[in-house]
């Protein structure tokens, strides 16, 4: 038995990320390693929404004896996050006084971060900087693991970089980590994963005893990707819908197909724009109007030219 079992409480590690990043792989590696060290391990995961870019999380609990497979809120010893917004979403699962926070600062902005579908609407993604978050946490590491992995030649090794950081927070031997990682990753990528593991581990060991919180944030030469506050096109909110009532045959396609439900038929059964403020100018009504009665103008110039 390992010396870590001095406390009978099991150790809780929560691993979170977005579908496709390797959350499950990380938790499998950790669980296998703990098993090899003679611990009882329980692991449970949710990854059903992953295919749609949704969050994936995996609870790993290990110790002398483990009963429940899940970690309660405020009960995680270590949070490993492979994506920045997921890290912030789960940060309240950390133990308030002695939790360790390990996160990639990579931003994967999901499509639904833009709550309004209007053109040039603001994107609602986390605005907190890594330094602001680290200042509130007992022990935290934020690093551009994806940038490191990309420099090594494969973005997908980012999870191994974070495993390197995680290895400094647990008391297992580095060689045991390496053995387990090599047995799990695809054979062609063992070299790159070993390098990624070493880079993450070396950096974490270097900053571990630093008194400065900001040092726990690895920016170095890797640019942290920024989130655009505006949609990438020109900020003109102009949308003008022109419906020719003489051509409209009341087929109802535009009313039924409008994603914002902003069209309806009036008392003469002609299509009208009943909620102009909701119209985003997506053009679906224009494309699907069989009578070519609808024209969408998205710039004042276009409207003036065709008026």
């Amino acid at each position: 038995m390992n010396k870590m079992t001095s406390s009978s409480e099991p150790k809780n590690v929560l691993i979170v990320g977005v579908g496709g990043q390797g959350v499950i792989l990380v938790s499998k590696i950790l669980a296998t390693l703990c098993q090899q060290q003679g611990f009882q391990v329980k692991q449970s995961e949710v990854h059903g929404m992953a295919k749609r870019g949704g969050g994936v999380f995996s609870h790993v609990r290990f110790g002398e004896s483990v009963w429940s497979p899940t970690i309660p809120k405020g009960g995680a010893d270590i949070l490993v996050a492979l994506e920045w917004a997921e890290a912030l979403r789960w940060v309240n699962f950390l133990k308030p006084n002695d939790g360790t926070f390990i996160s990639d600062t990579q931003h994967i902005v999901p499509p639904f971060a833009c709550l309004s579908r209007k053109r040039s609407a603001e994107v609602g993604y986390s605005r907190e900087t890594p330094d602001e978050i680290l200042a509130h946490i007992n022990d935290g590491y934020a690093m551009d693991a994806t940038g490191i992995a990309r420099e090594l030649g494969n973005d997908r090794a980012a999870n191994t970089v974070l495993l390197g950081v995680l290895s400094t927070a647990l008391e297992f031997q580095a060689d045991d980590w390496r053995n387990v990682i090599s047995s799990f990753v695809p054979p062609k990528t063992i070299d790159i994963n070993m390098k990624a593991f070493d880079q993450g581990r070396d950096w974490a060991l270097k900053v571990k005893d630093s008194p400065d919180d900001a040092a726990r944030h690895l920016r170095s030469e890797h640019a942290v990707p920024t989130v655009p506050t505006k949609a990438p096109y020109d900020a003109h909110d102009f949308v003008h819908l022109d419906i020719n009532p003489a051509w409209c045959k009341s087929c109802d396609i535009c009313v039924k197909m409008c994603p914002e439900r902003c069209l309806q038929l009036d008392e003469n059964l002609k299509a009208i724009l009943s909620a102009p403020d909701r119209c985003t100018g997506c053009r679906i009504c224009e494309w699907l109007c069989p009578d070519l009665a609808i024209t969408v103008y998205r710039t004042p110039e276009a409207a003036a030219a065709c008026a």
Binding site: Y233, K249, M257
Partner: protein, 287 residues
Amino acid sequence: MSQTKIKCDATGEDLAFNPMEYLREGLFPHFLCPGCGHGIALRAMVWAVHELGIDKNKLAIVCGIGCSGRLGAYVDANTFHTTHGRPLAYATGLKLARPDLHVIVITGDGDCLAIGGNHLIHASRRNLDITCLMLNNEVYGMTGGQVSPTTSADRYTTTTPLGNTEAVFDACKLAEAAGASFVGRELTIQTPSLKNMIRDAIKHKGFSFVEIMSDCTEVFGRKNDLGNSAEMILTQKSTMRPDSYGGNIVDEPFRPNFLPTGVLAQTDRAEYGETYRAAHRAKGSAK
């Protein structure tokens, strides 16, 4: 093919496109029933023509008889309204005599597969540079809703009061087997994809056949209780799937009307007009 610069905004959207530049505005509103998918196909076609920057004087539309046959009248170009089932035959003569024209044939499922079925296979075989747009609404709409070669199984029409028990023609397989060098199928609900497919078909050197899945709400949908036109085009979307899924669900019993969409075949076969003119040059005109 002259590729003109199109004015776009930052999203890559084409701001300059106005379908009325290519249509005879005085004839609108058109004669089609409310919710007929042919109107959507008409927009997609002129949109593709606009994207390619084709001069209206270099565009020839050849139409047969039927609801689809009427569409040619609305296009402000050289249009040719021909006899039932024979637009491909007329177009073959037109393209051979005037190779500088972009010849687009608009035809329907009955026009193209039943009355003009022989013309389709021979046009495919010759591989002359014609674009054939077949608007498939599964019925003879103009003549009162008779069963057509593409009417799905168990559908009611005026001539199949017990439900259709005839086997269905897969027009794309037919055209591909007969030798068409570009074969594709698209739904009207996916208008931008449809526009892209028509654009690629016009650009393609050789016989290109595009089957456009249209909807007939008034004659076909009403008789089969398929709902309004919005429901009909949504049903098409859910019953027909992209080709990438084709291998897996083609035999699935819950999708009896499954048809793959997308570009189904594309080859670089020699174009008939060029081989004919080369032979003519080599052997001299026989007078």
